[in-house]
Symmetry: C2
Subunit: 223 residues, 2 copies
Amino acid sequence: MGDEVKVFGFWGSPFSRRVELALLFKGIPYEYIEEDVLGSKGPLLLQYNPVHKKVPVLLHNGKPIAESLVILEYINETWKSNPLLPEDPYDKAKARFWAKFMDDKCMPVIQKAILAPEKEREQAAEEACECLKALESALNGKRFFGGDAIGMVDIAANFVGFWLRIIQEVAGVELLSAEKFPDLFKWTDEFVSCSIVRENFPHKDKVSVAFKARIDRMREAQN
Amino acid sequence: MGDEVKVFGFWGSPFSRRVELALLFKGIPYEYIEEDVLGSKGPLLLQYNPVHKKVPVLLHNGKPIAESLVILEYINETWKSNPLLPEDPYDKAKARFWAKFMDDKCMPVIQKAILAPEKEREQAAEEACECLKALESALNGKRFFGGDAIGMVDIAANFVGFWLRIIQEVAGVELLSAEKFPDLFKWTDEFVSCSIVRENFPHKDKVSVAFKARIDRMREAQN
């Protein structure tokens, strides 16, 4: 097809990983450009995402697209193989609802439950459990949110699927467990067992070390 | 078609108004159920949107959908007349980007610039102006965000198109003016001149009175 596809991302961002996962599942080759999100932002990132100035950005034949969920829709519409969304408008709406739920509610409260000052963490942990309970109900006994295959919700939920179990262990906060959310926990096992995830996601130790440093920085700033 | 379409909304919510506008532009008759968002939530609203427990909810042949932007996509896919999104995947991605921008950045900072405690308002007003500037650039001289006709971004931006000029006047805070953002200001005139908006949106005085009461309540709570 002669398509030029580039992803501006950060290895530790579940948002960038969404874009990469979608391209990998579709089998679309891409060039990956790592951004230094903790340091100064690259001029191309600022040029391609002037409004939010953040990763991920997808560049397709020179045209930039920002916002990970917007990018997933674009990828799904541009490359038809391995659809990430169901065909039926109502099933599609449900998938979009849960993907959006990850961004608007689930990820912010989980982050708060782990990283907020101690006195705010307990309340946030309760809210985080409500979110995980909602996800467990959305899974509804299926192997993946998308049914038998990984779809947009699974990709959008990679923060819960891969990162959460590692970072909650580092932080010493148990939000997601097999006892509390058996289906969701099993889903995280299925998710990381998938070859595309296993072969492309970072090693657990790298995540632990980077997250430990982040927690230390934040808790130091809070004291 | 024998479709049963119901909207659970609140007259003063720009989010509910999105759903109504989309149905009106598509010419789809619907039954409207007003929810008392300030009082106790109706049992049907809680049943249909158990995760967020808020308006709007679209009920189509008994199936509920929540989240206004998800509902707009559903409406656009279910009823094909008067498309709210462009066909081209890249143009569609741009429209989705700006619709999402309204929710994630524009509306929260404008609300903060008007309703936050005084010492936070100045900073928020600067950020709000950045958002309005970004919208002005997205409009890019077009009559509507959707081009010659109202589309998803225009509908998503009804808060700026209709409500903002009324509430900023009540609050005594000028964020959007013809001097600062001529194209966007002109767009708000075009937006409210559209017969569907003019005939279905509340009278300016009703909005002023309700918003004045809201500001008084909030400022009292802040003192």
